[in-house]
Symmetry: C2
Amino acid sequence: MTDRTHDPSLRSWVESANDERTDFPIQNLPFGRFRRARSSRAWRIGVAIGDQVLDLRAVHELCPWDDAAQRLLQPLAEGDLNRFMAMGPVARRELRALLSEGLREGSNVQRLLEACLVPQSGIELTVPCRIGDYTDFYAGIHHATTVGKLFRPDNPLLPNYKWVPIAYHGRSSSIVVSGHRVRRPLGQTKGEAEMPQFGPSKRLDYELEVGALVGVGNTLGEPIPMAEAEAHLFGLVLLNDWSARDIQSWEYQPLGPFLSKSFGSTISPWVVTMEALEPFRRPFLRAEGDPQPLPYLDSPTNRERGSIDIRLEVLLQTQAMRERGEAPHLLTQGNFRDAYWTVAQMLAHHASNGCNLQPGDLFGSGTQSGPEPGQGGSLLELSHGGKVPVQLPGGETRVFLLDGDSVWIRGRCEASGARAIGFGECMGTVSPSP
Amino acid sequence: MTDRTHDPSLRSWVESANDERTDFPIQNLPFGRFRRARSSRAWRIGVAIGDQVLDLRAVHELCPWDDAAQRLLQPLAEGDLNRFMAMGPVARRELRALLSEGLREGSNVQRLLEACLVPQSGIELTVPCRIGDYTDFYAGIHHATTVGKLFRPDNPLLPNYKWVPIAYHGRSSSIVVSGHRVRRPLGQTKGEAEMPQFGPSKRLDYELEVGALVGVGNTLGEPIPMAEAEAHLFGLVLLNDWSARDIQSWEYQPLGPFLSKSFGSTISPWVVTMEALEPFRRPFLRAEGDPQPLPYLDSPTNRERGSIDIRLEVLLQTQAMRERGEAPHLLTQGNFRDAYWTVAQMLAHHASNGCNLQPGDLFGSGTQSGPEPGQGGSLLELSHGGKVPVQLPGGETRVFLLDGDSVWIRGRCEASGARAIGFGECMGTVSPSP
């Protein structure tokens, strides 16, 4: 069977999925965990299609598909995305083909699937899966360079940067989904005074990142070779790695960031699968003069198509803008193609010491700043370390975030010959310290 | 009701619990998760008593206790320690009193409880609970000083050390219980050559740590004040934070240790509760000239009894020693009283930014080296950074661990007027790289 699921001419009988502005045309089909708004019912797994959600529990109950299809749907019908993640890419492709056919114009199950649709306007969403461990990489070389310059003007990148996919373990428990408020953290900071002080962070920032979710895991002690790395990836989300810069600069030596990050991280609720991203894969190239990756981080597939073209944006809406009814203001733009390491390299590196990855584990990409000034993926960069205020509409300025500020991250994939897809919303609003 | 559970004169009808060398007298009563060896049955929660385990599922079924007792036992009977952890210290004390009475000489339920005993020689153990997030602190000031000297002879302790309970997020998935082999990790290292290389770590080390498990959690955004911190702690285990020093020194800047740690961490299977540790609590004192903790890390209770007296040991048995039938060799001794921060301070600091702690979360204490030379809690310290070989019986030496080496961590609490208790075994054997 030829995979027609990316065919840009495909149209869905869900009319809103054919609108060219939607993030969720029939070529996307991302997974999320939802329930009716203000209900206390169990979370269900669904697939976004236009402005609707296809409830996979209902599909499992109503659809006259064969046993093989029912086996794929079983964990999803039980609300357990992790178990489906563990089933791997072949299962994922089979279900994708089935859903794509069922949602197409002229489908012979349209009447049945219509009964499984829930409008997105009537649902609430949560994190799509159980995230056992969260690891945050540092694969944004422009971010690492710009931030490095603030500390070491002559030697911004450390000697390991171009060899090692640098990362640190993050905090899983405080990962929330788009829409949750993020409370300004209290913390210990050190200014010019002799003693440190404890109080609300004064340098609260966002970080523009992409998140990758692990599908199939590996056994403790058994690395995953680069040639197999892609098969262990499930899909991508957007990630805002909120950061308290003043807490970070005082706490981070010698063991890295801790409380400056663990007060909250926001992800987008819909997981865009590796299959949906196929048309947007791009060659992974090293700039001239940069070292080639060591063999354990190299493969022909990675060279040919390791990178992914995702246009990224950050938007800010202040309290005052909201009160004036003003739309969020575009702060910066970047592209995930600029990441210094691919998600397959992150995964192979992570497992290279035998560390066991598990279905639902999350990797952050590190801040994805663009190469140009003004393309910083954080306020730290845009405000030159808090020294140059960023101008906003209506005469407001920001060096760091104030209470009431809302931050959006957006991601969209576009390529000639392909239907554009998007990631949906990744938004959070800063609320005051306790 | 007076709490008689610590009374050193208490004796159990389980005869082995009255042996003064046992780690598990009736005054201890630690929780673990076990099943019959080589069975594939569900894991059960049990309490260690002498050389036996009291199977709490069997107790729940057989014992004629009232509804209140049955409610305490319910989650334990289902094999879920986390739900019991979430019930807090009052529930824990009630169950402790009940089990202590039932296991005492002269108990009126002896006959029933006898039917719930399983010999420890016939069981296997696993990690006692689901560990959602693992955080490793750096509260061993002698370790931090000695290791700091290797890098910065004139300025070993960084300026933040005496103010901030330094920590980093660790890897949860690779935490294993005593007895599991630990595979020597592959990794990227940088020697004198121009290019880094990839291969088996040549500087594999252990770290002597104590682990604290969280009981009741907190809501995201709501810090836990110091005055309430103790009530959120469940109990302690021993922890070996295996470390690959050559991978660590190349990867750790600027975001801290990652693959040098995440290949495996070993904990002891029995959780010694905060109640069992009562007789071994000691005042928390700052050395003269050291700053007092900031108010958010200070409380009268913490000053009076924040520290815990646990005698700690590391023992090593090489392959050759094992073949000669030689007992493990004592490498070092320390005491958890020397920790620069108490477990309550670690917890209050961790939640101070609003980070949500969850039942079963694990904190490592950082390497607990003693103040004297020769009391290093790692080979890195004992071998002066790999320069001075440590002498072993039979003419062997070590600068770092070789394949086949087994490392034990032991912990024991002794105090006048109290029955001594111990932590059981925390052992791991190094196996070769893949």
